[in-house]
């Protein structure tokens, strides 16, 4: 019975070729370094092998909810005023619950009017009247969730834009964790996490306000200039100009002329004295607003406010449309960072760093080296032992083991999986556990031979009995690996992946390939000669 050995052998060789392609792709050359390059192109290295930075950021989604409700507070005030409904205060009483707005002091006889106004305009809220004639508006849960998830996706986009400016290759920026509004950022090759966080998390806010008074040396002086009562649409803001000089107090209009999203573009550049400054462009809509403002206020002052401090107060010499320049007092790095923040837009909420890991490139290379040495040493030890203990069949096992590794690495190349240091450990473990299947089969064959069966029959029985156990043992280990994959992160997942692929490949090589090799040996033997095992 030929058992179609030629067909099976061809199939095995074909698989070998396919998976070698998986590892190397189409190599550019056959020298050692060209092959190494081919492997590097196909198999991705994890951060612990390549070097890089890993950050887990928490999006403070409550801030995004708070800014939406802040807006709504202002709108409710305006709407009630327009409808001539009196009210006392509108605000959020509980800072830990930004989704609840309280309205007090409405006229008791206008209850139905107030209710119909609130309910029709603010449909994202549940409106209820309290016993003390105050109203509570609670944002609906779905609306809150929508704001939160929007904050996360928008943060991811903004971070992506900012990271692009760092010129990092293959950054990973994605939602992370099990629904906790966390973002994972992985930047290979970047080992200065401080700079990364600076760039990603900068929440600089730049605004331009009209100046109505100042500079004063203290707040008391500023108040005196308006006879002790600050108009409701103005505020006092501190600043010390370009950084040198004492702190001063300005009185500015509360509402900004241009801010945040109005900046279309910003670039660091240099002024006439070669010092760093920032040139900016506004969007066309903002440009119109700015033009109107500057035309109406020639020879008055405007203040450039950075993070709630007056950065610079300049005289409006002529109308400005949509491009301008912020000068003075920037270090080159500050100019760069601020331009980036203006260009990429503001983060919808601030980001807290929960976890930060970075690996320098030389440690990464050292890890690869030790991992590979350990793998080779382990493999050699196992192969030698199999040859000594099982003689001819040992060659069988060693071939199957080699093919096992080729398929495993090929799998990784094809699926674009990431190889981490625990992943290399997984490869090493696959060697040990993989050879277990061969041992199971060979021991059984030896038993059958001792019972006096012929070589062919012993091989048959050996494979048949061992098959059941092999399935059981592989399934249980793969179940462990699957759970590790689900619950693990980065490096641990890499381990689960190589272990699973390795065991799956082993099911194929230890059973099918070994069987084919045995069968072809038995073919060639004459009846009665002993099997080398």
């Amino acid at each position: 019975m030929r058992k179609n050995l030629t067909g099976k052998t061809v199939a095995i060789l074909a698989i070998l070729v396919v998976f070698v392609y998986g590892i190397f792709g189409l190599p550019h050359g056959l020298s050692g370094s060209a092959l190494k390059q081919s492997i590097a192109d196909r198999i991705h290295l994890g951060l612990d092998l390549r070097g890089g930075t890993h950050l887990v950021l928490q999006v403070m989604v409550n801030e995004a909810v708070a800014s939406v409700t802040d807006n709504d507070v202002a709108r409710i005030q305006a709407d009630l005023q327009k409808a001539s409904l009196t009210f006392g205060t509108v605000g959020k009483l509980d800072p830990t619950h930004p989704e609840i707005i309280t309205v007090t002091g409405t006229a008791p006889d206008k209850t139905s009017d107030v209710r119909s106004l609130l309910e029709s305009t603010y449909q994202n809220y549940d409106v209820s009247l309290n016993a003390d004639n105050s109203w509570t508006l609670t944002m609906r849960h779905q609306a809150v969730l929508d704001i939160q998830s929007h904050a996360v996706t928008q943060s991811i986009e903004t971070i992506r834009d900012r990271v692009d400016s760092l010129g990092v290759s293959e950054p990973v920026i994605q939602q992370y964790g099990l629904g906790d509004n966390q973002i994972l950022v992985e930047l290979p090759g970047v080992d200065d996490p401080a700079r990364v966080r600076e760039v990603i998390q900068s929440t600089s806010r730049l605004e331009i306000h009209a100046v109505t008074g100042g500079p004063f040396p203290t707040e008391a002086d500023a108040l005196q200039s308006v006879s002790g009562v600050l108009p409701p649409d103005e505020e006092m803001v501190h600043g010390n100009g370009t950084g040198e000089g004492p702190d001063q107090v300005w009185i500015l209009k509360r509402v900004s002329v241009v801010a945040g999203n109005d900046f279309r573009d910003a670039e660091p550049s240099q002024d006439e004295n070669g010092r760093p400054d920032i040139t900016f462009n506004l969007t066309s809509v903002a440009g119109d607003t700015f033009y109107a403002f500057t035309s109406a206020n020639v020879n008055k002052m405007m203040a450039i406010v950075l993070n709630n401090r007056v950065r610079e107060a300049a005289n409006i010499e002529q109308p400005i449309r949509d491009s301008g320049r912020i000068t003075g007092g920037f270090s080159p790095e500050e100019a760069q960072n601020l331009s980036l923040t203006l260009r990429t837009g503001a983060l919808p909420a601030s980001l807290n760093t929960l976890e930060e890991r970075s690996v320098g490139p030389s440690l990464g290379a050292a890890s690869i080296r030790s991992g590979v040495i350990a793998a080779v040493a382990g493999m050699v030890a196992v192969m030698v032992f199999m040859l000594i203990y099982y003689r001819g069949a040992g060659i069988n096992a060693d071939l199957a083991l080699f093919l096992n590794l080729v398929i495993l690495l090929g799998f990784m190349g094809f699926t674009g999986s990431t190889l981490t240091l625990p992943g290399i450990a997984g490869v090493i473990l696959t060697i040990g556990m993989g050879v277990d299947s061969n041992v199971l089969i060979f021991e059984r064959i030896r038993e059958e031979l001792h019972l006096g069966k012929s070589a062919a029959s012993a091989v048959d029985q050996g494979f048949a009995h061992a098959w059941v156990t092999i399935i059981d043992t592989h399934v249980t280990t793969i179940v462990s690996a699957a759970i590790l994959f689900l619950f693990g992160t980065g490096p641990v997942r890499g381990f689960a992946v190589t272990l699973t692929f390795g065991l799956l490949a082993n099911l194929f090589t230890a059973v099918f390939v070994s069987r084919v090799i045995f069968d072809s040996i038995l073919e060639r033997k004459e009846r009665g000669t002993a099997l080398s095992i």
Binding site: A381, E443, T477, S480
Partner: protein
């Protein structure tokens, strides 16, 4: 070459020795866990900052300590990194700051502080920071929770699979054996005061799978023999099965142990905890299949006979008739 021909050891007869041996190690481990080193948690679980620094010349720990103190970092622990028994004269140190210094709004503060402390205070040689791990308190709790869940689900999955393939008692015996292995392995970490990190948990989950493997091989043989050796007592069948599978068990453990030993010796510092867990785990896992799982089957059987129920252990779902 064949090492295990014609072995006929009465394993079950030695069960009291096994019990004693297991008890000694379990109790020692538990003692260490509760009263001595506790369970040493790596930064992944307890939070904090780890800074790995590589020096150009052999570092002087006293001078490093002085530099840290001068910068106000009195809680820093400084430890020389050994790359396993086969590398000499390591020039790497790991400086650890406890979680107290790590607040989520200033996660980087620890690393920056260490860097500044060394730059201003340590003059012996130049250095570079090779690796940093900062874990905030929230993530620490999250990861602990995930590790616990993963272990629980693993054990549950195994139990269900074995219940499905064999009988419930087989599953229970195997889970008890695995539990025993995990306890002794964690006890070993506690006794040697090594930290348990995420990769160590991965190793522990792997050795759970591995120990199961081993136990399943013996159980498979028991099931097979129960069908053919119907007139023998359970003890005889179990002993016979263990003896038959002994060569495979020792060989496989030996081979896997060889590969893991290679990892322990050559694999570098990062995988140290991982390979230690596997080295211990493989030895104990092999031992437990013979010394814990098998005797448990027989003990359960004896208990059932003692209560007047069926005299032979069912071989599995297929032979219910």
């Amino acid at each position: 070459m064949e090492l295990f021909r014609g072995i006929d050891v009465d394993w079950l007869g030695k069960k009291w020795y096994f019990l004693g041996f297991s008890l000694i190690f379990s109790v020692a481990g538990l003692f260490s866990i509760f009263f001595w080193h506790g369970i040493p948690k790596g930064v992944d679980f307890k939070g904090g900052t780890l800074v790995y620094v590589s020096f150009d010349q052999a570092p002087n720990e006293d001078h490093i300590r002085a530099a840290m103190d001068a910068a106000g970092l009195h809680d820093a622990t400084i430890q020389r990194i050994s790359n396993g028994p086969l590398t000499q004269g390591s020039k790497d140190e790991v400086i650890a700051l406890p979680q107290r210094d790590t607040s989520e709004s200033a996660l980087d503060a620890g690393r920056v502080a260490v860097l500044n402390a060394l730059t201003t205070g340590y003059q012996d040689s130049s250095f570079s920071i090779e690796k940093v791990e900062v874990v905030g308190p929230q993530v620490g709790k999250q990861l602990t929770h995930q590790a616990e869940l993963a272990t629980l689900y693993s054990l549950l999955g195994m139990l269900i699979y074995l219940w499905f393939r064999f009988e419930l008692i087989y599953g229970v015996a195997a889970v008890v054996a695995v539990f025993h292995d995990t306890l002794i392995t964690i006890g070993a970490f506690s006794l040697t005061n090594q930290e348990i990190t995420l990769t160590v948990i991965a190793a522990i989950l792997t050795l759970i799978g591995y120990s199961m493997n081993d136990t399943i091989v013996v159980f498979d043989r028991i099931r097979e023999n129960l069908r053919t050796m119907r007139r023998e007592s359970l003890s005889v069948v179990v002993n016979h099965s263990i003896n038959q599978t002994l060569s495979r068990t020792i060989l496989t453990s030996g081979l896997t142990f060889l590969t893991v030993l290679s990892l322990y010796l050559f694999g570098g510092e990062v995988l140290h905890g991982f390979s230690f867990a596997l080295v211990v785990g493989i030895l104990i896992g092999t031992y437990s299949s013979i010394a814990v799982a098998a005797p448990m089957l027989v003990a359960y059987q004896d208990w059932r006979t003692g209560r007047g129920k069926a005299a032979t252990l069912p071989a599995g779902k297929k032979s219910r008739a």
